[in-house]
């Protein structure tokens, strides 16, 4: 694709400049700043910050931070459980729907709705519905004679309640992606399977799933990334409680920085989080490379 415009270099530099500038000033520089903050105590006086060097003190403390450790554990658990349920539900629903109903606009609009809604509104909706005293869920349970529960306030139920909200919020997203994937598969393969009278489960495991694998992997990765960032619903529904039952990484960092005002320690926690993410990425890439090398 060698096109020899004389002014190409200048135009290329100009086109890349905004992107590079945004990344350098608002991601790279903040990461470096974070590193500097993590070895300092930062305080504010008259709009200017004062830094004092404290060495690795903050970073050393992160490993023993029971709240942060609970956050990491809970975030991983939350992501694993809620994304698994979403994938299973979304895929099943897409499978049911893909043959008969072409994704008509009305259905699509309904399933797009939760995807496009602010997370905080989702939180507000469920705050109303989960309420222990007047929430509709306890009301409905009462009709069937079941006892009322404190969905977001009890340590055993809080995480499950948050997961339920996330499943409700994001299953439609998985469904839409899976449906789009299924409908882009070549119909000839399925016609051939029908001619050969292939049983449905064999069609599923031998034809549909392998063909859908790329879509499934992308959706899984994408949803997992989003699940690791969970914050809005937690902030509104439980604030990480009761105890550390729903403590997640993003909330720990938020609290450290903006409630407790511990910028140095918050920076250390942020850095450790970034390293954990980087480790997961390296592991995932390794796994992917190993799977790709394996003969099919």
């Amino acid at each position: 694709m060698a096109r020899r415009w004389p002014s190409l270099r200048l135009w290329r530099a100009g086109s890349l400049a905004p992107l590079v500038l945004f990344y350098v000033l608002l991601t790279l520089l903040p990461v470096l700043n974070l590193a500097a903050m993590s070895v300092s105590d930062v305080s504010w006086a008259a709009g200017r910050s004062h830094w004092s060097f404290v060495g690795a003190e903050h970073l050393a403390r992160v490993a023993d931070d029971a709240v942060y450790r609970a956050g990491v554990r809970n975030t991983a658990w939350f992501a694993a459980v809620s994304v698994s349920i979403q994938m299973l539900l979304g895929f099943t629903l897409a499978l049911l729907v893909s043959r008969t109903t072409r994704g008509s606009t009305l259905w699509r609009m309904v399933f797009l709705l939760p995807i496009l809604m602010p997370g905080i509104v989702i939180g507000a909706i469920w705050k109303l519905m989960y309420d222990a005293d007047f929430g509709v869920i306890n009301q409905v349970l009462a009709w069937f004679g079941a006892r009322a529960r404190d969905w977001t306030g009890s340590p055993e139920l809080a995480m499950a309640s948050i997961i339920a909200v996330d499943v409700w919020h994001w299953t439609p997203f998985v469904f839409l992606l899976m449906l789009a994937g299924l409908q882009s598969l070549p119909p000839e393969v399925f016609e051939a399977a029908r001619v050969d009278a292939t049983p449905w489960w064999r069609e599923l495991t031998r034809i549909t799933l392998p063909l859908m694998l790329p879509t499934i992997v992308v959706t899984l990765v994408f949803r997992s990334i989003m699940a690791f960032k969970v914050f809005d619903e937690i902030y509104l529904l439980t604030s990480g409680g009761p105890g550390t039952a729903t403590e997640v990484i993003s909330f720990s960092i938020y609290r450290t920085f903006f409630v407790q005002g511990r910028a140095g320690y918050g920076a250390a926690v942020s850095l450790v989080t970034m390293m954990l993410i980087a480790m997961v990425v390296v592991l995932a890439l390794n796994l992917q490379a190993r799977l790709a090398r394996r003969p099919a």
Binding site: S7, P118, V121
Partner: protein, 276 residues
């Protein structure tokens, strides 16, 4: 249609309807709550005489900042979408079509991926300190710039995917006709990218409109966006459920409007990344 197939089709329709109801009912619930008196909400009454007192208070009472919040959200979303779409489209074009050196392409795409995977919250504290040091703490500028950079990886990927549908041959033809690189981009590529720009732009706007965590940390009362205001109703010492429901209902309007106007675009945008 054979009877067995008809039953299967009926079962499928039933499954779809059930799923749709499960999605819709919670929305109906909060919209209904926004028309209830506070007492009807806290007594859990299903039958109620509707009132617009919460909307009236949110929009027209002196003590309410909601219209300000709404305008803030709108302005921030609009400007950050414009910035993000411009930087993303130009960047994607340069990476895909302008013989950008491989190391630079890999560096930028790799960094986009890594940055996108990292929870926003890890950078927010740093942003806060940096913006405050240059005198932009809790300003619109800080919010617009952070919303822009947050959505930049998404803009880059989506526009990259849409760009790959634009045939290179057209650009080569333009070059043969002695069209310069800038003119080729503005007169040949951009018009063909219009559907992609619309789809991506709509999504970026919604992402910014919905964003809560960063807005919470980087705004004060005057610069607060709708989600931040909404969270306040739910966090105050005495909960204002009615106001919260009304604010939630009003905050759904832009997304609903886009949904009605551009369902196809939105679906295309959301599925583009996964299927290419």
């Amino acid at each position: 249609m054979r009877p067995r197939m008809r039953i299967a089709a009926g079962a499928r329709l039933a499954a779809l309807t059930l799923a749709a109801l499960a999605v819709l009912l919670p929305f109906v619930w909060i919209v209904a709550a926004s028309f209830k008196y506070e007492i009807d909400i806290t007594m859990g009454r299903l039958v109620f005489s509707p009132t617009i007192v919460h909307f009236d208070e949110l929009l027209f009472s002196r003590g309410s900042d909601f219209l300000r919040n709404y305008a803030n959200s709108f302005g921030v979303a609009l400007v950050s979408t414009a910035l993000c779409l411009s930087a993303g489209t130009l960047g994607a074009y340069a990476l895909d079509r302008l013989d950008t050196p491989a190391w630079l392409r890999h560096a930028l795409l790799g960094w986009s991926m890594l940055y996108y995977m990292t929870p926003q919250m890890t950078l927010v504290g740093s942003w806060y300190v940096l913006f405050r040091q240059v005198g932009l703490g809790e300003s619109y500028t800080a919010l617009v710039l952070t919303h822009t950079v947050m959505n930049l990886p998404m803009a880059l990927w989506l526009m990259g995917a849409f760009l790959r549908d634009v045939p290179v041959e057209l650009e080569e033809a333009a070059r043969v006709d002695a069209c310069g690189p800038v003119k080729t981009f503005t007169h040949v590529v951009l018009p063909l990218l219009r559907p992609g720009l619309l789809a991506t732009g709509a999504l970026l706007f919604i992402f910014s409109w919905n964003e809560f965590a960063v807005s919470l940390a980087l705004t004060r009362n005057e610069t607060a966006t709708v989600p931040v205001a909404l969270a306040k109703f739910a966090q105050d010492f005495d909960m204002k459920y009615g106001a919260m429901a009304a604010a939630a209902t009003l905050s759904l309007l832009p997304a609903l409007l886009l949904l009605l106007l551009a369902t196809r675009s939105l679906v295309r945008g959301l599925t583009q990344g996964a299927l290419k």
